[in-house]
Amino acid sequence: MRDHRRRRRPAALLVATALAFGTAACGSGSGSASSDDPNTLEVWTRSDPDSAATYDRVFAAFTKKTGIKIDYQPVINFDQQLQSRASTKDLPDVMINDTALMGSYQSQGLLKPIDPASITGGDQITDKSWSSTVGIDGKHYGVPYSRQAMTLMIRTDWLKKLGLEVPTTWQEMLSVAKAFATEDPDGDGKADTYGIVAPGSAQNGYAAWWSSSFLWQGGAKLIEPDGKGRYTPAMDSAAAVNTVTWMKDNLFCGEKGVLQPGAITAVTSTATNFQDGNAGMYMTGPYNITTFDGTLGKDKYEVVPAPAGPAGGDVLAEGENVYLGARTGKDKQERALAAFLVSPEGQKIAMTSVDGHQPVVRIPVNSTLDAAKVRDDARWGVVQKAYEDASQQFPNAPSFAPIKQDTADALNSIFTYCGGDVRSQLGELNDTLAGDLKDQDLLK
């Protein structure tokens, strides 16, 4: 008898364990329990816990105002998670993520088209912002939520010490970079300072991301729309060849110290020379302002418009859109949330930092708001002006990820091999981009 029981106990335990695993495996795929409740919206944002805290406040205010509950999920590896949810055919109701992903999502059928007129307060969003949510078929597939543009962060204390002015052209920027590298602006008697920080790795497309402002300023484009929903690759243009040649000759293959050491393999997380205090200029997004204020000090650097190239001073504009998941059947509630998110009230909550948490709206899309005023920080006015007057987004109607990655691969390679022929390498890139467009049936 005892024998018998002893044998049975582990078996029971095992069966229980197996059952537990079985249910866990089955349970993981399905959506949250509340997804059927019409008065609850499942909302995903690509956020770390820090910015999620800010979103929590935004959604709490929305629920208080409308009574619609929010099941909020901050997701860090957003795209992988979204793909697995897509395979269950049960998407989140509302998603907030990068503007550049719109075409990719739309081509996968993940998004619901949006009529701008159906969003209350949608008329307070500028046409420029709305135009960045137009998909390949001419319909809107997102509501603009937050915008930003690159600006130049520059060490004003170094400028002062060396008696230099804030650069306004590429040439001036280059002279300043050389001076920062050679004239010992930190005064420690060692040649350990550098001019410009560049994340030049091809990983995650950083080389294309950082170079894009230069390309716009040089008058180059990655791909060009024909106005009828088709595109042609444009990286073999004279403007592109000139711009890339300039970058290669003067920055990556130029004098030592113009760029930080290791620029060609640097990604944004390893290109920390500006905040470490050994590089003087960094062209990057305004989300770094909080970081730099903390590590470097507010008094040491300034946010200025990017130096202009031969074709002007346009920089890369980026941001986040509100996307509505396809086939979710809660249109009214979703539109109410979108309207709240872009309203002055919703934007203001998201722009302010409480308890030191990262704000989630950089430049408001609501034209009645002024970033510098809301944040009480004039530097944000520089960013807003750059966005409104001199910025271009990545073309996001096509699926942009392959285009960005191939451009990054090619630029990284050009900047690595200083002896190479830029024109023929860009010609190859152009062929690759044509292939990417062809894969999407978008090649003219």
Partner: protein, 311 residues
């Protein structure tokens, strides 16, 4: 799923044992029940994803719109892509260099650190540390050591010798070898432990007999030690081969495949395809190709080992 795992065993017991089935039944079931958690875990987290990966490699993967059958398109696309072809070369150089280096260094370390003394134990633990440190952390450490100015640890050493700063990671001709050195550093202690276990099993009397015969150190290694630890060497070699082919983390944290794709290996290429270009079908095809190659190599090594054993 839970019920089916023990079933075959139960049925077999029933068929063969006839009237005594109850008692034997349980005996047949119990081992399977003990195996069940492991099997289930393997099924859910290994075999099912693997099967799904093979399945997806034949599709244009569109999770929401429904996957589209494309036959062998993904395979032709991956195998004809010149970046994948370059990656094969890099993977082989890195895999072979890293494996051979780590085995040689591991063997040398094992010979040096074999023994019972307390100091050796401490030293062995210290030497083993790289193998238990997270690769991402190791990568950051080596990035610092490889820093391309004379502030960097290695370059400051070279500076003392009057040699200029070497662009360890930024020179496309050197970057792959820099990655290899880090790989050897990580994996040598791991191999050392397995080889130490092998060395512990070597018959001491053989060494004594050899000493009486007055053999040289080299002869002792060649004719006693190496033959005696052959099983351990085979394990190390098999593991190193598999690891070498699927090398990813070392490259990803150190160079991300750059500069100019000079350190791009098979898996970093597949990763880029799957997760930055969103081409899950292509990435699956690339992974299946790697699986086949790994399988083939493992079987070959096993075959050679068996043939060697027979001889």
């Amino acid at each position: 799923m839970t019920a089916t795992v023990p079933a075959p065993a139960a049925r077999r017991g029933l068929d063969k044992r006839g009237p005594h089935k109850r008692a034997f039944d349980k005996k047949a079931v119990v081992p399977w029940l003990f195996l069940a958690p492991g099997l289930l875990l393997a099924l859910v987290f290994k075999f099912w994803p693997m099967a799904k990966g093979i399945w997806l490699s034949f599709f244009d993967v569109r999770p929401f719109l429904g996957d589209r059958w494309v036959g062998l398109d993904n395979y032709t696309r991956v195998l004809t892509d010149h970046r994948f072809q370059d990656a094969i070369g890099h993977t082989l150089i890195l895999g072979i260099g890293q494996s051979v280096g780590a085995i040689l260094l591991g063997f040398a370390l094992a010979l040096l650190l074999e023994g019972q003394a307390r100091s050796l134990k401490i030293l062995r633990t210290a030497v083993f540390l790289p193998a238990v440190t997270a690769t991402a952390v190791v990568g950051e450490l080596w990035r610092l050591m490889y820093y391309p100015t004379s502030d960097g640890l290695l370059n400051s050493g070279l500076h003392l010798l009057g040699l200029g700063p070497v662009q360890f990671l930024d020179n496309p001709n050197i970057a792959l070898y820099s990655t290899m050195v880090m790989g050897i550093w990580i994996w040598a202690p791991y191999n050392m432990v397995i080889l130490l276990a092998g060395l512990a099993g070597v018959d001491r009397s053989l060494y004594e007999a050899a000493a009486m015969d007055g053999v040289s150190l080299w002869q002792r290694l060649r004719y006693i030690t190496i033959p005696a630890i052959r099983p351990a060497l085979v394990i190390v070699l098999t593991l190193a081969t598999i690891r070498g082919l699927r090398v990813f983390t070392e490259v990803y944290v150190l160079t991300g495949g750059g500069p100019a794709g000079s350190t791009d290996v098979w898996i970093t290429r597949a990763y880029t395809l799957g997760f930055t270009r969103n081409d899950i079908g292509g990435a699956s095809a690339a992974s299946v190709v790697l699986l086949c190659v790994t399988l083939l190599l493992t079987v070959t090594i096993n075959y050679l080992r068996k043939r060697g054993d027979a001889r």
